[in-house]
């Protein structure tokens, strides 16, 4: 369907916009947009071969008389009793039962001849004491392709017509005709009255709508109306034009409700600030400190003087105390101290501040939406942070030199033990006066057993000291590595639970604006579209004299 081609894209854009606006903008506007999309789909489904033209107007304007005149025979009753018509009647040039079923019109008359494809509706009035008539008009006005407003010299400036129908439909100028009926009653005054009607319409924002003065009774002016209707029926564009105006209208209203301004991006500094508050609250500094201490402790156990190292075993491993293992284990709860209220307050402020900064250019409702998005998963934060820490690869590897150092310490311990035992043996031999039985070897004049003991002990201390220094360096390196890993994981949680929902919300806004731009006609962007429909000057200028 080439005619509706551009419209299809705009309709789906509006549908997308309605989906995005749902829960974010005024429900009435969202419902309206959805209604437009649904109606358009149904109307297009019935094809563009038929054009639905409705005669609408106040009671007594002569709608039914005009209907009969256009149909060429008396299909509906006319009378002086007001209101005359209470149910909608259709005259069909051709055949369109499904379309009439959709319109829910039961009074139907077939008319032969041209213009083929015209479906003419005679609507009831909208201004009489019968409210059911008004409801019927309000049901059908959104559905028809072309609205012919029939007014008379008495009623053309009625508020009921202009304020309830014409002004709200001001973007539908292309889908309307205004007929000033009963021209025969005014005689020469008809030109002035038509001019005045045009100025009232201009005040409605409908300056472009054609005004056709005519008399359905005398037939004066009827050919012009007939021609105007026939032209539109033959072009078969009325339905598309009307639906396009509907889409435009709805998109413009949504665009106005969405407000101006673009959401900012979450930049590196903001992300780091957030991650820092989260890390603080999650106890990252405590874990980092524990990693350093744990490495030093293990190092001391591995490389310290074996005689005394066991004492250290009595003190628990700092990491075990926090409930952290060497290997990542996400599903085990850590024993890290819970975040203090102060830390929680900092996290809370950080999240809110982030949302506020990013949405600072947006209208107040979107600031609220951004905050809601950023804080939506705040409840999960504590648990997820804990998992992030429990699941972190802390990198507490055992350096290879520890093994060497341990063997060295053992060797030194053996040496020292050998020296000590030797000395003990010497002491025992000395005690039993056999001291000279076994000669004591000497090394450069120094007794070997003493040398062994001293070298063993001194070497152990030296190794322990050097290893301790090295372990200090290793501990700091591991602490740094652990901190990097932890902060990265905390950052990932911040991304997932705070920044992603926030960016998604801002992204949804951008998508909404894009969809609304796509729903509006190509030749004008969103902005000009909005400017075009400035507020109507409500009060007509009082004409002097």
């Amino acid at each position: 369907m080439s005619l509706a081609g551009g419209l299809d894209a705009r309709l789906s854009a509006l549908g997308e916009a309605a989906r995005l606006a749902d829960g974010r903008l005024d429900t009435a506007l969202v419902d309206e947009a959805e209604g437009v999309v649904r109606r358009a789909g149904e109307r297009l489904g019935h094809g563009l071969e038929a054009t639905v033209v409705a005669l609408a107007g106040p009671t007594g304007a002569g709608k039914s008389t005009l209907f009969n005149a256009l149909a060429g025979r008396d299909l509906v009753a006319v009378g002086v009793r007001r209101p005359t018509t209470s149910a909608t009647t259709a005259a069909v040039w051709g055949f369109a039962p499904e379309l009439l079923d959709w319109l829910e019109i039961h009074g139907r008359h077939a008319v032969a001849g041209d213009p083929e494809g015209l479906v003419l509706l005679d609507l009831p009035d909208f201004d009489s004491v019968e409210t059911s008539h008004r409801l019927e008009v309000e049901r059908l006005v959104p559905l028809v392709d072309l609205l012919v407003w029939v007014v008379d010299p008495q009623k053309y400036a009625d508020a009921a017509l202009h304020e309830r129908y014409l002004h709200p439909l001001r973007s539908h100028a292309g889908s309307m005709l205004v007929v000033l009926n009963q021209a025969d009653r005014l005689g020469d005054g008809i030109g002035a009255a038509a001019g005045d009607l045009r100025s009232v319409l201009a005040a409605d924002g409908l300056g472009e709508v054609p005004v056709l003065p005519l008399s359905a009774r005398t037939g004066e002016g009827m050919p012009e109306l007939r021609q105007a209707i026939e032209e539109r029926v033959e072009r078969r564009e009325a339905a598309v034009a009307r639906l396009a105006a509907d889409v435009d209208d709805s998109a413009t209203r949504l665009r106005a409700a969405a407000g101006d301004g673009h959401g900012g991006e979450v930049d590196r500094r903001q992300r780091e600030q957030l991650a820092a508050s989260l890390a603080e609250a999650a106890g990252v500094p405590a874990v980092v400190a524990a990693v350093g201490r744990a490495h030093r402790r293990r190092g001391a156990l591995a490389t310290g003087v074996p005689w005394v190292a066991w004492v250290r075993r009595l003190r628990p491993d700092p990491l075990r105390r926090l409930g952290l293992g060497d290997a990542p284990q996400e599903d085990v709860r850590t024993s890290l101290p819970r975040a203090t209220p102060v830390q929680r307050a900092h996290v809370d402020s950080a999240v809110r501040r982030l949302a506020g900064e990013v949405a600072s250019d947006l209208p107040a409702e979107w600031l609220g939406l951004a905050r809601r998005a950023a804080t939506a998963r705040e409840e999960e934060l504590a648990d997820r942070l804990d998992r992030a820490i429990a699941g972190a690869e802390l990198g507490l590897t055992r350096p290879r030199w520890w093994t060497a150092a341990r063997w060295l310490q053992r060797l030194l311990a053996v040496v020292a033990a050998a020296g000590a035992l030797w000395l003990l043996a010497l002491a025992v031999l000395g005690f039993v006066q056999l001291g000279d039985v076994v000669p004591t070897p000497e090394y450069n004049g120094f007794p070997v057993p003493t040398l062994l003991l001293l070298v063993g002990l001194g070497g152990a201390l030296l190794v322990a000291f050097v290893a301790g220094r090295l372990n200090g360096v290793g501990a700091r390196r591991r602490a740094r590595r652990a901190e990097r890993a932890l902060r990265e994981r905390v950052g990932a949680v911040a991304d997932e639970l705070v920044i992603a929902p926030l960016t998604a919300e801002l992204g949804a806004r951008d998508e909404l604006l894009n969809a609304l731009d796509a729903a509006q006609p190509r030749e004008r962007g969103g902005l000009t579209g909005r400017l075009r429909r400035s507020a109507r000057p409500r009060e007509r200028a009082v004409q002097a004299g």
Binding site: T59, R81, R82, V129, V342, D348, L367, G368
Partner: protein, 563 residues
């Protein structure tokens, strides 16, 4: 009605009008718009009609000619007067400034501002906007004035409002409709109002096409009966070509005869006046009641909105309480003041900062890493402010969210710049309060510690001294690279707490903490109250005053009493 009774009634009416005028009716509840409208009509009717009429019962009967645009009001008035006093024409709407026609002898009655006081009078030419043109004409009998009002249903809103105001000021309505219009909804709304207020009413069915005269007139009569207007006069004027802009005498005859009969019969005129007056007075309590109901709704809605705000900030205070109840915060604070009191705080602080600087320098030397972020350090220090500020922020968000849930609240938030977060200067004020609080905790602790100060100082110096020695030892050993000395300092603090407890007693420390908490909560409440006041002020600007309902009820009761 006696003179005294009339005067009493006038006083009661004046008071009622004043009370009605004083109603704010600003909060957006359903029907608020309608109530504002009804209030305007009531005030206009009291001021423009009831009061002038009560003061001068003998004044001429003011008959207002009203009806739809294009019904032929001006043509009818011109024809009755016999001169073009009101412009008529094919352009809609025609009459823009109202015209009052009366016998020259009656002019003094209408010259002053007895009736329609707000409209300046002009004679001899059309009145400007908001004015009233007086036309003396001998064609009208004395004792009867005709006022040609603007239309009731055209696009010109000012016409519609003015027409309603003029109709409310009338002793009787001459309501004009046409064969095309007689079933329109808008005129019937007005006719219902006239019926409900007991206004004397006559209908003119104008522009009746000869072929449908009987049918239309009988249908209109049916409708009048159906709508409870069977007592009203119905005068039929057929559609005829105008003679020099006037209706021919034959067409005008029914109206002319009816008017002449009324002018000739002073009794009948007085009856009409009394009927309308009584009807209007009777209708007052019910109409004021309608407005009163809306005021009551607004009061209830304001109460709900107030409760929303209070609830939100009450929860904020609970959050602060929860945060400080855990104790760590307070014990730390009490201990810090304790250090100040015993005079060791400065020593410890100086030592710690010096050590800290040294450590930072060594760390920079060894690792090249910059010292810890200064901003972060400040953030940690401001722990109490952070808790209070976050609570205020959340409370503001909750209150704003609750308000956004109702139309009235939404309207109040509309022009409010960022009410949904804490006010910009709150952090500053919180800091002031927290500083003041710390000062009070200091006073508390020093009062408690009075007399034990020397002992305390020795003990504390002992503890801190020991801590210092350990710290220096650790620092010397690790070169400040492990931060262990900080842990020692923490341990020293813990020991300090023990000393504090040992000296003052566990109970005393707990009492101190409790008092400090009470004090902090009082200050927080004050802070949150000023925050909540932002909402309350906004609400107070729109909500009905506390006495509005009672005063209005009193005024209605006084009116009923005066009758």
């Amino acid at each position: 009605m006696g003179v005294q009774a009339a005067a009493d009634l006038a006083v009661a009416l004046e008071r009622l009008s004043e009370r009605l005028r004083a109603l704010g009716l600003r909060l957006s509840v359903p029907d608020a718009e309608r109530a504002r409208h009804a209030r305007g009509e009531l005030v206009d009717q009291i001021d423009d009609y009831l009061l002038p009429r009560l003061r001068r019962m003998e004044a001429p009967l003011l008959m207002v000619v009203g009806g739809s645009t294009g019904a032929g009001k001006s043509t009818l008035v011109n024809s009755l007067v016999g001169g073009e006093v009101s412009p008529a024409g094919v352009l809609r709407p025609t009459t823009r400034a109202p015209v009052l026609a009366c016998h020259p002898d009656d002019v003094p009655w209408f010259e002053d501002d007895r009736v329609l006081g707000g409209m300046p009078r002009t004679t001899g030419g059309p009145a400007g906007p908001g004015g009233l043109q007086l036309v003396p004409t001998p064609a009208l009998p004395p004792g009867l004035a005709l006022l040609d009002s603007p239309d009731i249903d055209s696009v010109v809103e000012r016409n519609r409002a003015l027409a309603r105001q003029l109709l409310a000021a009338a002793d009787a309505w001459l309501f004009i409709t046409t064969a095309a219009r007689y079933a329109d909804a808008v005129p019937w709304e007005l006719l219902h109002a006239a019926r409900d207020r007991g206004t004397a009413l006559s209908l003119v069915l104008d522009r009746v096409p000869p072929e449908g005269a009987g049918e239309v007139a009988s249908h209109l009569r049916e409708m009048m009966v159906e709508h409870g207007l069977d007592g009203a006069e119905l005068l039929v004027v057929p559609e005829t070509p105008l003679e020099e802009g006037f209706l021919p005498a034959a067409a005008l005859a029914p109206v002319r005869e009816w008017l002449d009969a009324l002018a000739a019969d002073a009794q009948a005129r007085a009856g009409l006046v009394r009927r309308t007056l009584t009807g209007a007075l009777d209708s007052l309590p019910a109409r004021v009641g309608g407005v009163r109901d809306v005021v009551a709704d607004q009061e209830a809605e304001a109460g709900r909105l107030r409760a929303d705000v209070d609830g939100a900030y009450e929860r904020g205070l609970e959050e602060i309480d929860e945060a400080v109840r855990s104790g760590a915060l307070l014990r730390g604070e009490v201990l810090a003041r304790w250090h100040d009191v015993v005079g060791t705080g400065d020593l410890m602080r100086a030592l710690e900062s010096r050590l800290g600087r040294l450590r930072d320098r060594v760390r920079v030397l060894v690792t090249g890493a910059p010292p810890a972020d200064a901003e972060l350090r400040a953030a940690v220090q401001s722990s109490v402010d952070a808790v209070v500020h976050a609570a205020a922020d959340r409370a503001a968000e909750r209150a704003a969210a609750a308000w956004r849930g109702t139309p009235a609240g939404r309207a109040l938030l509309e022009d409010a710049a960022r009410l949904d977060s804490a006010s910009a200067d709150l952090l500053e004020r919180t800091r002031d309060q927290v500083r003041a609080w710390q000062g009070e905790v200091f006073d508390l602790v020093s009062r408690e510690a009075a007399g034990k100060r020397t002992t305390a100082r020795v003990a504390s110096l002992g503890v801190n001294g020991a801590g210092l020695v350990v710290m220096l030892a650790v620092f010397a050993q690790t070169g400040g690279l492990t931060g262990a000395e900080v842990a020692v300092a923490g341990g020293t603090s813990a020991v300090g707490q023990r000393v504090l407890e040992a000296l003052l007693g566990d109970q005393a420390v707990r009492t101190l903490a409790d008092k400090a908490r009470e004090n902090l909560l009082t200050r927080s409440r004050k802070l949150l109250d000023t925050e909540a006041a932002r909402f309350h002020d906004r609400l107070a600007g729109a909500a009905p005053g506390p006495e509005e309902l009672r005063v209005l009820d009193d005024a209605v009761a006084a009116l009923e009493g005066a009758r």
